[in-house]
């Protein structure tokens, strides 16, 4: 099955349940500003939904941008950042065409992004309108 999201931002109600679920899953607490998915408000126009596009990202430039090969595409098709290898140089942050790679706040300064929750993203079932779905169905 292809890895990625089907996104229809026209259906997004900006409720932010996806951000809440993401931060809860990854941090054990809800803090939408630290989520790996973002809904960029463009009020009153339709918002942008920003998250790693995986198979839909042409060329996946983050992988080649990393000078220490901390980013790789695994057998399943997940593009993942190895936090232990990451030196925090921010090259991937610059390279990402969607602006969805961020640096962890605080001292560690390691790059992070959506890891598709290993195959079943926690954000997807939270979306009440279908603005966010798993590519190829759930």
């Amino acid at each position: 099955m292809p890895i990625g999201f089907d996104i229809d931002r026209n259906l997004c109600t900006e409720c932010l349940r996806c951000l809440a679920a993401c931060s809860l899953t990854k941090l054990g607490r809800i803090q939408p500003s630290l989520a790996r998915i973002a809904v960029k408000r463009q009020w009153p126009e339709i918002p942008e939904i920003r998250v790693c596009r995986f198979d839909d990202c042409p060329g996946q430039p983050c992988i080649d941008s990393c000078p220490v090969e901390a980013i790789a595409r695994d057998a399943q098709g997940l593009v993942l950042i190895d936090g232990d290898t990451c030196t925090g140089c921010r090259a991937c942050v610059e390279a990402c065409p969607y602006g969805v790679i961020r640096m962890e706040p605080g001292g560690s300064e390691v790059a992070y992004k959506c890891d598709f929750c290993g195959g079943s993203p926690a954000c997807v079932p939270e979306c009440a309108t279908g603005a966010l779905a798993r590519k190829g169905g759930s």
Partner: protein
């Protein structure tokens, strides 16, 4: 085991000295759970009932609850409690959106604003840090512009509230705006203005956990399933809200002859299909927008062309406004209605009391008791409606008199108070006591005046119970008032319990905070709060004479669908007697000592002592 969602921490902000300090929640407050419970208990403990609402001695308490900011659906709101300058009673007022969640993410259960600032200021809350900034750049500006400025200056991710010119100028029905949502009722905007706070921005970085994460997640899933089912049903009210917004029900209300029209003279409006939710959906719909974490998304964002030809947006109008700026003013033009709503938003004014005030002014003008140069004061006149609203917001000409609230306006204009559709000086919400007897009793006995949030509206309007019957309504009203007060300690959206059975609330409280509470105890918290409010109001000088309906309610509703429905005076008084008895109050509506003992608040009897 996680950490309780409640942080047991509020920030106390002394505006007079410009100092802020964390305030740990004392043990005896924790039983009030949060939200309205916290606000009410703090206010009655710290503000004397006779306090001038616009003085530095009044306080404004902004709180959230155990479910705010979590994944529990339909819990985006925050609650303001203060003494109302409109009603002179204790006030609780609510807004949805994102502010509540952000307060929670800041690691706070709320803010207590006290004193009054020497100069107009903006407050920025970042976790427990508070900074004070001059408001000079936005003084005199509208709410949306003010909040846009806050996002530009303090970052696009801050969540905000603000007042407009009405709040700055002390308009009695001034509201507080928050990113298209509004703390509408009771004049909280004037209180904030009296403290010279133009706006507040909040940014939180702490996030929120719950005490029992797995239990909580299961409850969320159970609740989401219920809502999903409701939203998919054609005739489920919440489902209709989900598709077309809160204006979906106007056709039903109109058909039952219960749509207040022309200052409540008529019970149906032939223009209703031009201004209801379906009319807006047909002509102006762009998309649905939700409050934080809400799968219902009842907010409808409309795009329309204004009367001056410019293009504009409005999230709304909501149902209550379709009445107050629509049917009650004989306004069948959805564009004029949208513009009227925008004026109320820009100036920061409650669409209900403001609309009811305009309806009264138009009726007084018809009788020749009131006039304003340049305005043709007639029902249905767009110039009169939009002109009066702007003048109230500006406190200009006759608007300065109308801005004083019903009693003040009637005194200043020499108009007839008994044709003013108000209770305790608060304008009527969109419902007709003559047509719906239980709702009439709920309006009359509300602690904040003519309030629809704790009334048997759904049961009466859908015919689930006989809306014209008096029997059994006193018990029903008491039960709803207590239950909704309990739910408002969690600051649940009012629509949450339309779908969700009450048994879920104690389970949510336990999963979020680890506090064990039975449903009976939970509902008793609601009754305790109701009695505290009542005692405060009695101390403020109110009593049985204020639990009354305006005279118009004792005259038949006109229009065929309304079947000449009327409130019978003697039967209303009997209903009120029964209600007092069921509440354990004396015949003057004063809580008896035994009742206060039973509710474990005997020490508050002093509040009601005059």
């Amino acid at each position: 085991m996680g950490r309780s969602s409640m942080q047991d921490l509020l920030i106390r902000i002394d505006l007079s000295s410009g100092k802020a300090a964390p305030w740990a929640v004392p043990e005896q407050l924790k039983g009030y759970l949060g939200g309205m419970g916290y606000g009410t208990k703090i206010l009655v403990d710290e503000v004397a009932p006779q306090t001038d609402p616009l003085s530095a001695e009044n306080k404004l308490i902004l709180t959230v609850g155990p479910l705010t900011g979590t994944t529990a659906p339909m819990h985006p709101q925050s609650c303001i409690v203060t003494k109302s300058p409109l009603t002179g009673t204790i006030l609780n007022s609510y807004a949805g959106g994102f502010l509540g969640a952000e307060i929670r993410f800041a690691g706070l259960d709320g803010l207590i604003l006290e004193g009054a600032a020497p100069e107009w200021m903006l407050l920025v809350i970042e976790d427990e840090r508070v900074s004070f900034h001059s408001a000079e750049a936005v003084l005199g500006k509208g709410t949306a512009e003010t909040e846009g400025y806050l996002k530009e200056r303090f970052g696009p991710d801050v969540r905000t509230l603000s007042i407009g010119r009405a709040g700055e100028k002390g308009v009695a029905m001034a509201s507080i705006f928050s990113e298209t949502r509004t703390f509408g009722r009771g004049g909280a905007g004037a209180v904030l203005g009296s403290k010279r706070v133009k706006a507040i921005a909040v940014r939180g970085s702490r996030g929120v956990e719950v005490a029992r994460p797995e239990e909580f997640a299961l409850l969320v899933r159970e609740n989401m399933e219920l809502l999903k089912t409701a939203c998919a049903e054609e005739y489920n009210l919440v489902g209709m809200f989900s598709r077309v917004g809160t204006g979906a029900g106007m056709g039903l209300v109109n058909g039952r002859g219960a749509l207040a029209t022309r200052n409540h003279i008529f019970g149906s409006f032939d223009g209703s299909t031009k201004i209801d939710g379906y009319a807006y959906a047909d002509r102006f719909y762009t998309r649905a927008v939700a409050c934080y974490g809400c799968p219902v998304h009842c907010g409808m964002l409309h795009k329309f062309t204004r009367t001056d030809g410019s293009s504009s947006w409005l999230r709304g109008p909501e149902y209550e406004t379709m009445y107050s700026l629509g049917s009650d003013l004989l306004n069948a033009d959805p564009v004029v209605l949208a513009e009227a709503n925008q004026i109320c938003e820009e100036y920061g004014m409650d669409t209900l009391t403001t609309g009811v005030t305009v309806a009264w002014a138009l009726e007084m003008a018809e009788s020749g008791m009131l006039e304003e140069p340049g305005l043709d004061l007639k029902f249905g006149s767009s110039g009169a409606i939009l002109g009066l609203l702007r003048k109230i917001g500006e406190r200009e000409g006759i608007g300065d008199l109308l801005a004083r609230g019903p009693k003040g306006a009637a005194e200043a204009c020499g108009g007839e108070m008994d044709r003013f559709m108000q209770i305790k000086n608060s304008g009527f919400a969109a419902w007709m006591p003559r047509r719906m007897k239980g709702t009439g009793l709920a309006f009359a006995t509300s602690n904040r005046g003519a309030c629809h949030k704790r009334a048997p509206i759904g049961a009466e309007i859908t015919g689930q119970i006989d809306m014209d019957a008096y029997e059994g309504k006193a018990a029903l009203v008491k039960e709803i008032q207590d239950r909704v007060n309990a739910i408002f300690t969690l600051v649940s959206c009012r629509f949450h319990e339309f779908v969700t059975p009450p048994e879920i609330y104690p389970r949510f409280v336990r999963a979020a905070t680890d506090r064990e509470i039975s449903l009976e105890e939970f509902l008793a918290v609601g009754e305790r709060i109701w009695n505290l409010e009542r005692l405060f109001n009695i101390g403020a000088g109110l009593g049985r004479a204020d639990d009354r309906l305006p005279d118009r309610c004792y005259q038949p509703v006109q229009g065929d669908a309304s079947e000449a429905a009327v409130m019978d005076r003697a039967r209303f008084e009997r209903m009120l007697d029964e209600y007092y008895r069921l509440r354990g109050w004396d015949e003057q509506g004063i809580p008896a000592p035994q009742k206060l003992e039973e509710l474990d608040i005997p020490e508050y009897a002093r509040l009601g002592a005059r």
